[in-house]
Symmetry: C2
Subunit: 286 residues, 2 copies
């Protein structure tokens, strides 16, 4: 399959990400349909020209019409949906997703999926603090990373199609990672940082904090404003890997604590020089 | 003393903050002189019209001319300087500073200072990742907080003068805190956040991180690019209070860790809802 404009794309789950995909894909000229939970999301998307057709029911015909199906659902809802409705897929359809952790969905779904349909996982690393199709915006893809996460079961063609989708949507960098490397990377870069922000914000109940803060605290706690339903599910879906990264981080934090406690200025400065060197390298590449 | 334009202001230590003060004060029409370590800083500041006169020597006359002296030095250098040179101050002069921690300087300096000179401490909560007079910019004060930190020894007049200085320089909020409350607040808002950023950056040596990151990790590690000489001194100057805040934070982080480890979704979600509510409150006030 090639990504040509006459393709019919179905989005399942019209929230912030599903809506942003729909917006971007419709601008590119594709036929974009959607199935989602709330009628208000369908109404909003139709009124604003984000989709061509939308429904809150599982309508076999619009599933059967789709060449590509993009799932933007919570992991456990995603798996349930496939189990119950995969008989409606068109033969040869490619399905992909936006799930933030992969080992908890990819293997199960590939194992249960019909042989004539292929699931290629993807993780668009874009978002906003606000949720819902009302806040969707395909501009969030600019400057962001998009990761294709294939397994041994995936074909070269589907991997390419999925990468092309990321490029077409305007992501700045499209790359390919194994499931295990993806989930470890995400545990460190995204899940651990959210754990830190939540913990930091829960560590002080002084209502006057904001009167005295500088930018550091604002930056570190921006993501403490968090969707608790989604993130608790994502944390538990990647539990072992996340706990491993949390262990490494707290050991490093405890090392710094001990240097301060022992007045070990050289130990502290070594850590600071390492963090500075790494962060500068980081700046160059961004 | 009132802040009128004919006042003579001496800045001791012409780095990023000293230079930014000089720029702002000179624009306001004050006579601004400076004493600093490096001739290159004096040359730069004179060439760019940041100061009226500068020297790398302790010249008794320019100290004696100053109505207000602003110290932008490391804590231990600041104390040494006062000890060695306070005989040159004009009688009735007011001295202030920009030091990021207060208990380690305020009491010692007020105890040793001549009776006819008053030291009123201040903390301008503004900065940049880059240092030196070459990067100075009085625009960094806009949107930033300025805290006056008096002790029982300070007069109402000096507290007002110091607050006026913050207002004149363009800080968005000027407030007054006790030494103890200031240092506890700073330990939490500023020092702990730098400890977290340094630890996070030191927890992973994968050179490919940047290829896959989202905004969260970028935001949390921006301040991991850190002046190790200055920050190690600031941490040790506020050691007991900082360790206390680090203890509170790591207990909270460990609580979240345990919830994840025990699959306690409700426990996690309670913490996330608390952090979200607090951060939203924070957004409103910013």
């Amino acid at each position: 399959m090639k990504l040509i404009k006459k393709l019919n794309i179905l989005i399942v789950g019209l929230g912030l990400l599903g809506g942003s995909y729909a917006k971007g894909l419709k601008k590119l000229g594709f036929q974009v349909n959607a199935i989602t939970k709330e009628q208000s999301s369908v109404d909003f998307a139709l009124e604003h020209g984000i989709i061509d057709y939308g429904t809150t029911k599982v309508e076999p015909q619009i599933i059967a019409d789709a060449d590509i199906v993009i799932f933007a659902l919570y992991p456990h809802v995603f798996k349930e949906w496939i189990k119950e409705n995969q008989q409606y897929f068109k033969s040869g359809a490619v399905i992909t997703d936006v799930t933030g952790v992969k080992s908890c969905v990819v293997y199960d779904i590939q194992a249960m999926l019909r042989d004539d349909v292929e699931f290629i996982a993807a993780h668009p690393m874009a978002g906003k603090e606000s949720s819902g199709v009302e806040n969707s915006d395909d501009a969030i893809f600019k400057g962001a990373n998009y990761i294709v996460v294939p397994t041994e079961k995936n074909t070269k063609e589907a991997i390419e199609l999925c990468a092309n989708l990321g490029e077409l949507l305007g992501f700045s960098k499209v790359s390919v990672l194994s499931v295990e490397k993806h989930d470890r990377m995400i545990a460190f870069l995204s899940q651990l940082t959210h754990c830190i922000a939540v913990s930091l914000m829960c560590s002080n109940d002084d209502p006057d904090l904001v009167e005295y803060t500088g930018d550091s605290f604002r930056d570190l706690t921006r993501i403490a404003n968090i969707n608790d339903e989604m993130w608790s599910e994502l944390f538990l879906s990647n539990k072992e890997v996340l706990l491993e990264q949390m262990d490494i981080y707290r050991a490093t934090f405890n090392k710094l604590y001990d240097f301060i406690n022992k007045d070990d200025r050289d130990g502290m400065r070594d850590m600071m020089r390492l963090s500075t060197a790494r962060r500068r390298e980081f700046n160059k590449k961004v």
